[in-house]
Symmetry: C2
Amino acid sequence: MEIQAVTMILIKTMNKSLLSFVGIFFVFLVTAQDGSSLWLGYSILENETERAAYAESLQFISFSDSTERMQLASKELQKGLQGLLGNSPHEKKKLPNQKGMYGVQLQLDEDLTLSKEGFEIEYTPQGTTIKAKKDLGILYGVYAFLREMQLRKPEPFTVVDQPKVKIRMLNHWDNANGTVERGYAGSSIWKWFELPYRLDPRYEDYARANAALGINGVTLNNVNASSRFLTSEYLEKIKALADVFRPYGIQIYISVNFRSPKTLGGLATSDPLDPAVRKWWKDKTREIHQYIPDFGGFLVKANSEGEPGPQDYGRTHKDGANMLADALQGYEGIVIWRAFVYKADPNGDRFKEAYKQFKPLDGTFDPKVIVQVKNGPIDFMPREPFHPLFGALPNTPLAMEFQITQEYLGQATHWVYLGGMYQECLRSDTYAKGPGSSVAKVIDGSLFEHEISLMAGVANTGSDANWTGHPMGQSNWYAFGRLAWNPEMDAATIAKEWVVQSLSRKEEAVSTLTDLMMSSHATYVKYTYPLGLHHMMGEGHHYGPQPWLDKSGRPDWTSVYYHRASASGIGFDRTGNYSDALDLYHPEVQENWKDPQSCSLDYLLWFHHLPWDFKLNTGNTLWDELITRYYEGVAEVEQMSTRWESVQAQIPSPIYENIRGRLKIQAKEALWWRDACTLYFKEFSQLPIPEGLTPPSRTLEEVKKLEAIYHLR
Amino acid sequence: MEIQAVTMILIKTMNKSLLSFVGIFFVFLVTAQDGSSLWLGYSILENETERAAYAESLQFISFSDSTERMQLASKELQKGLQGLLGNSPHEKKKLPNQKGMYGVQLQLDEDLTLSKEGFEIEYTPQGTTIKAKKDLGILYGVYAFLREMQLRKPEPFTVVDQPKVKIRMLNHWDNANGTVERGYAGSSIWKWFELPYRLDPRYEDYARANAALGINGVTLNNVNASSRFLTSEYLEKIKALADVFRPYGIQIYISVNFRSPKTLGGLATSDPLDPAVRKWWKDKTREIHQYIPDFGGFLVKANSEGEPGPQDYGRTHKDGANMLADALQGYEGIVIWRAFVYKADPNGDRFKEAYKQFKPLDGTFDPKVIVQVKNGPIDFMPREPFHPLFGALPNTPLAMEFQITQEYLGQATHWVYLGGMYQECLRSDTYAKGPGSSVAKVIDGSLFEHEISLMAGVANTGSDANWTGHPMGQSNWYAFGRLAWNPEMDAATIAKEWVVQSLSRKEEAVSTLTDLMMSSHATYVKYTYPLGLHHMMGEGHHYGPQPWLDKSGRPDWTSVYYHRASASGIGFDRTGNYSDALDLYHPEVQENWKDPQSCSLDYLLWFHHLPWDFKLNTGNTLWDELITRYYEGVAEVEQMSTRWESVQAQIPSPIYENIRGRLKIQAKEALWWRDACTLYFKEFSQLPIPEGLTPPSRTLEEVKKLEAIYHLR
């Protein structure tokens, strides 16, 4: 909830007839300080001179065309200015764009050499223009202008910008029953039982927050999809959401269950080559468009982790995807087919599975199909090498799937800013067309010249007042959105943008918080998965450490499958000596990782199984380095707390207290990870905790019990 | 979130040295109007004269003793007065209690003839005293005073009150994973992953709202209990909540899993007579008290719906309950043992099960045990006859368990005020000791002179900003709390109290809304379960109608088990001709229901299986009456909408819109119930829809598909 800034003046009557002036108190009741307004808080600019300068130059808003979205853009600008500059009114007038007008002109201009979502901002103290070819560009320009106002001084500036990726999308893993798979911020923000008749005001808040980042697509439901969402009852509900989102330029996508022709249509099969099945999807697609004419398309998780798919009928991913593409012929929508597939082979290497299945299909997909690939080859581990499919399918557009929700990254109790991790992946060079063939260029379609391009983030939103549980989770939603717009943006710049708009504009706070954010991911990796360890979390719940997990529904759901610790050493050998997953990369990429002596320590155990006493270039043995990193991680969390406390005065108090509490939990749990992993690996290495470090004060058995709690009924 | 009322006066300086008065604008920024402040909104009293009169008489607050809770009471009074009267300061001074003091005196007085939670309020325009024996009485008195201020005029009044029931408790069916069993207002309000270090500010909001009603006990977790809550990790979290609640007089109870000695303690058995098991519970109880010295006790669902219990080891409920009571010897806490037990017998009558198992145990329980009985014999059906156990166990204290969450009452999309339903049950006469032996007197312990007395409500709270999903759900929490304090209160009075404090003080709105609330339950029953039908909801999800459900995990989970519709008629014969459940009641009670000619129509099919053409005293046949009621129910929902719209101007707009949307859903779903049930029963009766009523425009098959949606994966 947003409260307007109010100037309150207290007057005391000394006697009934005379007013005597006693004192003036300025009380700024700014935005509710619980984080609910995200990056749209628009708290008042503290510097009075700058505020006055802006106020003088921004006395009115005019717009060239009265489309619904132009009016929305003007309304958004008014809201923002009202917050930033105080309670000043902003009239709208239809005025020509000219210097000396002391106002803002929102202007459509077909002649601009920009894409349909691009915009051009020119601010001078005498007047401001925001131009775009289309009204969505104007809306994006307005949000950008409000952002720039908070980052700059009231001095002339020009910004010309347009998105590099066509579809910038959130994937919600939200279930029909209101739960969120891997959600840590309360229940789903979609109130299915209230739709279509009651529209929660948060739907519009959500749309605004996304539009401010340029996010233009939303898949509403979990990829482990219920057919329920394709019934007319639910399409009516989805339509209601689409109508709220449309003015903000956001299109709706639906995750579909491949078995729907059977479950919903009563057909005998869901074989994608069966004519009745193809007809069923065509009819269903037509029906969807009656509700949502600008329907975005289908997202499909098929033949993955038990979900149905074309392979159930002896067909391929291509057959399944192309059938859905066929149903979408004549419409705008696309098919997003996930590449997250793997099979339960104790002697295999899950790292290679998606590549094996999709590489041979390159070039066989319908032009309406895009294949969505997770950033790394396993599953959103805290640090993964980029997925070997990036760069490997020149004839197939590939979408990036990042995870914003922190399934393996401390969920809602650990502060981990993901901007740097996303950036590392996007900047990785695939060498697919020689040096400079970054993952970003694969994703934005430029490397292989694809029409469609897409970046998806698995949302971390929920019903909590602050949307993301951990207040810092907001920064990951923000960073995802900004990188989807421009995958080459700098993570630290994004962090700073977020802090300034969401937390504090005080210089010291901005610098401390940006620092803290940028180092937070490395800290998390140190106390959980140092040196390239991966996949050792508690079974099922994925919370806390369980490196000892050696039995599960499938071998590649255990921990021992990945770390392979034994008396002889630790790590997964992915060189030619064992799985040879390294071979899936271009030779230049292999070069980075193939030699354990020169391999980046961040990826060492991703690719090598090494003896405990292996000598690293740090001068330490592998064992000493591993344990030292665990200890460093824990110490760094303590430092985070201290640094956080140093900015207390510059942060809204509810958010300060909220994060202070969470940092205490993080400290406790960092210790949990450290003790669990060091005690467990010590059983194999039989080596002492390195000198200078205090050994854990508890036993391995005691630590094991902590994880076991989460399996108690 | 709550915003203080602010009086804003705008001043314009005409030149630098002179203040010229231009105008005064009163801007009342009242409580956030989304319902988040429940009945503690304290929006400003609209009548200026009354406000001034109150302000004059309430110029300061003084208190006789400086206990933590006295200070809290004073703080609560300040908050309330600040809201009701505007931004007026209220100093605290230590002053003697005297007329002419123009202030409030909070005064402990050991000599009062009141229970330790009772209070005495004396308000005069010249001065106010709130007296109590204990500081908790003072706190209750403060909340009562603030309530009375909103209900009365500033004229002298005296209120002397004390609770009739000793333990007034919410039962949360909240799970460790954050979901809420039968919860329809988002996720759990307990953030287990954040505790003990981060305390959500809502914990205190929750405590205040409960204390204002006199609720003094909370069971935090689901009766289908996880052992997790008895680990030291979780006891530390629970302690943090207990510390927040303690100043508000609220004690914490834990639902326990009877198998805990095995799962947590590693014992070979959980047999309640096994010495090692008994020792385990003793040790665990001691450990709990190290965290929570004023621990309230254990709530147990045993040998019910698959939960473990003493019968697993050939023991009885008495053995189980008394073992836990033994573990609590020397401590204040008690054992609450649920009587909700029944077995899967297709030829039996679930109605009789609890009675059968518990009647023989009367008098065998430890004095620390209280048996908690649901209001009716089946399971929180929209309308049930009172449970036959009430009055049948003179030697065992019995607790009432009402359901506040609307599992079978439209969940969060139907407006159903439950005050009248609770009242009907509490006022039912058991005749256990002759006329006047009401259920209320069984519950408050007076009828059979028991030390312990308890009323529990299954909470409807969740993470939604307004706590209860449907804004009207708040009134059910409120009504439960007031009736737990005094089971003889009047439901309409309570409704009015709630409206005045939570929604509107405008006379027309108060009267319309109280009316709407009071008729809402009867309306719901008409379009779902008229004439005493019961248990025909959708399987598992319990949403919408499924009278055709004839197969389930057990026979007594189907619908046909209960309505027994056939060509020959409908209803469950519970007279001597079939199950004879009626015989469990005192003869005077049987008299009410045993003759189908004189049986109240509200309970007709609870006790009788009657032919479709059975002639009722309304002049209609059973069939015509049944169908007519379904149609009337639907029409009444339309009227609710119209009446709701009539008070639009007098209701905070977000709440108005919220409920308007939900009423549309309710209208749609009332039609769903009507069509489902009339079309289905028509298959048996083979009779036409009565003249003057338009037959459903859809087929039974079409309606069946609507419920089937909720089973789609």
